[in-house]
Symmetry: C2
Subunit: 497 residues, 2 copies
C-alpha cells in the first residue's frame, strides 16, 4: 500500500533524527566537556524542532489518520505500528511547536536549577521551576482533551494500561502487607560486622569485576559497551547498539556490582529484541515497568541470591583478597541484603525500596489531582518518610529534592519502578516451574535464563503490551501477591530465622 | 538587513546538522560497537541528505546570491562569511542530491574495502573502488565548470590559493635541496644503542604522560578531552569542544608522546579561535596547511627540540625508571630524531616525511591530469620509493595501499602535510626574532608561545586566508627555503657534527 510506504519513509526520517539526538545525549551524559553545553543546547533544540516538525506535519497526520481508517487492510504487525504511531501523534499533535521548544528549554534549565537547589539545600530555588513544569504538564494533558484525571494520563504514558485505580490497589497491598513487615525487620537489630561493605575497593579492580559480570550474563560486546557516568543508565538506538554505564565508588563496591547487574538486565532485554523490529517503532522494550522488571530480575532475583554468589564469590575474593579475607559467603550474602532505614531511594535496599515509591506516588497524585500547595510538599514528604520508614530527613536535599525526575517533567514514572519489581516476582514464580533456575545459576549457565526471557518477553519489543506479555507468560493478570510473597520469604529467612 | 538575517537562520540550521553529524562521527571513531554500523550508516545518510538539502535549497541559493550582489552593504566580517558561503555553495550546488548520497555511500563502502584490501595485501580488490571514486571526483569538478586542470581545483579545496604551479615549485625545492641531503644522512650509519625506543612502556603510564603534556601545553580541559582511537585525530565542533585522541603502542612509546603533541597543536589552535566566530562559518582553522603548520610546530619544533626535553625528560624518567635507566638526555634526543629509511608515511621521521608526500603529490597529479592507468600505480609507487628513499615496498599493503585518504576521496589533501611543515618553519624564524623561544620553553612557559600564536594566527579562525596570515606574520609570502634551512641545520647538528 502506497500510504504505508509513505508512513515508513517519514518514520525512517524520524528514526534518523532520534539516532543523532540519542548519540548526542549519550555523549552529553558520559564525556562531553563542561563548556560545550550552551552552544550544544542551542543547536540541539534546532534538531529537536526539526524532528518535532516532521512528526507533527500535516502530511504525517494525514498518512497516519488515513491508515487508521484502513487498518483492516494491514497485517497484524503493521496495524500495531500504526496504532502506536497514532497514539504518539495524539500526545504531541496539538502542542504548538514554539510551546514544545519552550518546554524543552524549561526542563533543560530546571535540571540545572535542581542540581544547584539540591547542592544548596534550597527548595525555594527549585519551587518556581517545579510550578512551571507542573503547569506545562497539565497544559499538555489538556491539549489531548482528557482533563478529568490528568494523573491517569501521565501514568498511562509511562505504563500503558495502568491507571490510578490499579496503582491504588497495588500500593494498598504494599501498605497493608509490606509496611508492617518492614518495621518488623527493621526492629531486628543485628550485631553483624559489616565494615567490609564500606572498605576501600580500588576502581580498576571494580571495573574488572563488572567486565567479568558482563561475561557471566552473556552480554554481547559487539553490540554495545560499558562506560562510566555519574548516574548509571542504559542507552540504546536499536538492538545492535545497547550500552550501559556504572559509577565506581571506592568506598562502596556494591554500587558498581549491583548497578552493573541492574543495567545489564536492561541491556540484555534490548539486545534480545528481535532485530526485525529495529526499523519499526516497536523496537524497544514493552514499557517502563516491563523494563524495570527485567533489570530488577537480574539485579535482585539473580544478583542478590545466595546461589549466584556460591558460584562467583570466589572470583570476587581473588580480586579483593584483603578486603574480603575475613568475610565468608554467609556474611557476604547478608551484607548484600542488609535492610535499613534509608533516606534516599537510589541507595535503598530491595525491601524498603517500594515504600520510597509509595511516597512519591501519593505526592504526585496530590499534585495533579488535588492541586496541592507546593509550599507544603517538603513537610508532607518528611511526614510520610516517618510514617512508612521510621526516619525523617533533616534537610530538603535528602528529602523532597533528592530525585532528578520532576525537574525533567517525568511525573508518573516513579510507580513503574515498584511495578517492575512486582512483575519480576510474578515472572519468577512462573519461571521456576518451567526451568531449574537454581541449577542453571549453579552451572554458570545464565544464557539459558536469557533465552527463556527472550522467548517469552524480550524478542517482542513493544509489539506486545506489558500486561499482555505478563498474562501470556504467567497465565494470569498482574497480581502483587507474588511480590509480597517473594520479599517475605527471602527476608524472613535472613532476618527472622 | 533582513536578507542577512535569513542567511544566518539557515546557516544556524546547517551548523546544528553539522554538530549532530560531528558527534556521531566522534562516537563512530572512538567507541561505537562493531555491529551498529549498518543501521547507523543508513540513518546518517538521511541526516546528511537533509543537511545537503538545506545547503542547496533554492531559498538558500537566492539568499546567498542576493547577498553577493549587495556585498558592499555589509561590514567586513559579514562579507567574509558570505564569500565563504558562496564558495562552499558553488562546490556542491550543481551536484544532484541522489548523486551526493550515492557518493557518500561509495566512500563509506570504499573505506571498508580499503581496510580489507590492505589487510589482505590485495590492490585488485580496492582498484575498482578507486576507479569509481576518481570518476566521481572528476564529475564533481566538472559540475563546477572548471575542467582544464581538475587537480588544481582539488588542491585549492584543501588549501585556498595553492595550485600545481606553486606546489611544483615547492616540491622542486624539496627534490633539489632535500633529497640529496637525506641520502647523505641515511648514509651515516650510527652505532647508537636504540633498544630503549622499542622497549615495553605500560599503557597506563603512557596515558599519565600524555595528560602531563596536556598541562605543559596549557590545554583547556573544560573545553575538550583526551581519548583513545586506532588513528589519532583532533575533533571539534566549536572553540569550546575540541577533543583529541592518541593510541598507546606498548612497544613504541614515541607514538603516544609525539602524536599527542601533534594533536595538541591542532587542538590548541581550535581552542584559541576567537569565540565570536563560533556562530559563523569562519569558526575553524584557516586551512589544512595552516592547521598542519601548528601541529607540526608543536610536535617537531617544540616537541623534538633538546631544550624541551631538558625540562621534561626527568618527569618521563620517573614514570619509566627501568626503561630509561641507562638513557641520558643526549641519547634520548637522538632517539626521538632518528632518521631512517621508512616504508610508511605515518611512521616516517621529520626529515624523510616530505619525501613521502612528494611521491603522493606526483601520483595524484598523474591520476587527475594524465589519466594514468590504475594498473600501473603500484609499480610507480615502488619506483619512486626507491628513487627518493632508498627503499622499496615488498607488498602493496606497505606501498600503494598504506593510506586511507584516497578511499575517502581526499585527493589534494596530502600536499598540505608538507606545506604545513614548511609554513611552521617560516613562522618559527619569525617567532624567534620576536620572543625568546628557548627561554620560554626552559621556564616551562609554553603559555606565552600559545599566546603569540593566538594573537598572530589562531584567533582569526578562517576569517583570514592562510597566505594572508603567513604574510602578516612573517612579512613575506610562502618561501620553502626556511623549511629546508631548519631541517639542514637541525639534522647536520645531530648527524654530521
Amino acid at each position: 500500500m502506497e500510504l504505508f510506504d509513505q508512513f515508513k519513509a517519514i518514520q525512517k526520517k524520524q528514526k534518523a533524527f532520534a539516532l543523532v539526538l540519542g548519540i548526542a545525549s549519550w555523549d552529553s551524559n558520559t564525556e562531553a566537556p563542561k563548556d560545550c553545553f550552551p552552544y550544544r543546547s542551542e543547536m540541539l533544540s534546532i534538531i529537536s524542532g526539526e524532528s518535532f516538525s516532521i512528526g507533527t506535519s500535516d502530511t504525517y497526520k494525514e498518512v497516519v489518520n488515513g491508515l487508521m481508517e484502513r487498518l483492516d487492510e494491514l497485517d497484524d504487525m503493521h496495524q500495531k505500528e500504526i496504532k502506536k504511531a497514532k497514539k504518539n501523534l495524539d500526545k504531541i499533535a496539538k502542542i504548538p511547536k514554539e510551546e514544545y521548544i519552550e518546554y524543552s528549554k524549561l526542563v533543560n534549565m530546571a535540571q540545572r536549577v535542581w542540581e544547584d537547589a539540591k547542592e544548596q539545600d534550597d527548595y525555594e530555588l527549585f519551587k518556581p521551576y517545579l510550578q512551571k513544569i507542573i503547569q506545562a504538564k497539565k497544559k499538555q494533558v489538556a491539549y489531548r482533551g482528557d482533563t478529568d484525571n490528568p494523573y491517569n494520563v501521565l501514568l498511562d504514558d509511562f505504563e500503558e494500561g495502568m491507571d490510578m485505580e490499579q496503582y491504588d490497589a497495588f500500593f494498598d497491598t504494599i501498605k497493608k502487607d509490606l509496611v508492617p513487615f518492614v518495621k518488623e525487620i527493621l526492629d531486628q537489630k543485628t550485631n553483624r560486622d559489616e565494615t567490609f561493605i564500606t572498605t576501600m575497593y580500588p576502581k580498576a579492580k571494580q571495573k574488572e569485576f563488572v567486565e567479568y559480570l558482563m561475561n557471566v550474563f552473556n552480554y554481547n560486546f559487539d553490540r554495545g559497551l560499558l562506560k562510566e557516568s555519574v548516574h548509571p543508565f542504559t542507552w540504546n538506538t536499536h538492538s545492535k547498539d545497547v550500552r550501559f554505564t556504572v559509577r565506581y565508588l571506592e568506598n562502596y563496591v556494591f554500587s558498581s556490582i549491583f548497578a552493573g547487574i541492574h543495567e545489564l538486565g536492561h541491556a540484555i532485554y534490548e539486545q534480545q529484541v528481535d532485530e526485525s523490529l529495529d526499523m519499526t517503532n516497536l523496537k524497544s522494550g514493552a514499557s517502563m515497568g516491563m523494563h524495570e522488571s527485567q533489570s530488577r530480575f537480574y539485579e535482585n532475583i539473580i544478583g542478590r541470591s545466595k546461589v549466584f554468589w556460591e558460584v562467583h564469590y570466589d572470583h570476587l575474593k581473588t580480586l579483593f583478597p584483603k578486603q574480603l579475607n575475613d568475610v565468608d559467603i554467609e556474611m557476604f550474602y547478608e551484607g548484600i541484603n542488609r535492610v535499613e532505614e534509608s533516606m534516599t531511594r537510589v541507595e535503598a535496599d530491595e525491601l524498603t525500596y517500594p515504600l520510597h515509591i509509595l511516597i512519591r506516588y501519593e505526592i504526585e497524585r496530590m499534585i495533579f489531582n488535588d492541586n496541592i500547595d507546593l509550599d507544603t510538599l517538603p513537610d508532607i514528604w518528611n511526614q510520610k518518610m516517618r510514617e512508612y520508614l521510621n526516619i525523617e530527613p533533616k534537610t530538603d536535599a535528602e528529602g523532597i529534592l533528592q530525585d532528578v525526575h520532576w525537574s525533567g517533567g517525568m511525573f508518573g514514572y516513579f510507580p513503574t519502578y515498584a511495578l517492575g519489581s512486582a512483575y519480576a516476582a510474578q515472572i519468577y514464580y512462573t519461571m521456576i516451574n518451567d526451568i531449574d533456575f537454581e541449577a542453571l545459576i549453579k552451572d554458570n549457565n545464565i544464557e539459558k535464563i536469557n533465552q527463556w526471557l527472550q522467548e517469552k518477553i524480550h524478542r517482542f519489543g513493544s509489539s506486545k503490551k506489558p500486561r499482555e506479555i505478563l498474562k501470556d507468560v504467567t497465565g494470569e493478570d498482574f497480581n502483587p501477591k507474588y511480590y509480597v510473597r517473594f520479599l517475605k520469604e527471602k527476608y524472613s529467612e535472613i532476618y527472622l530465622k
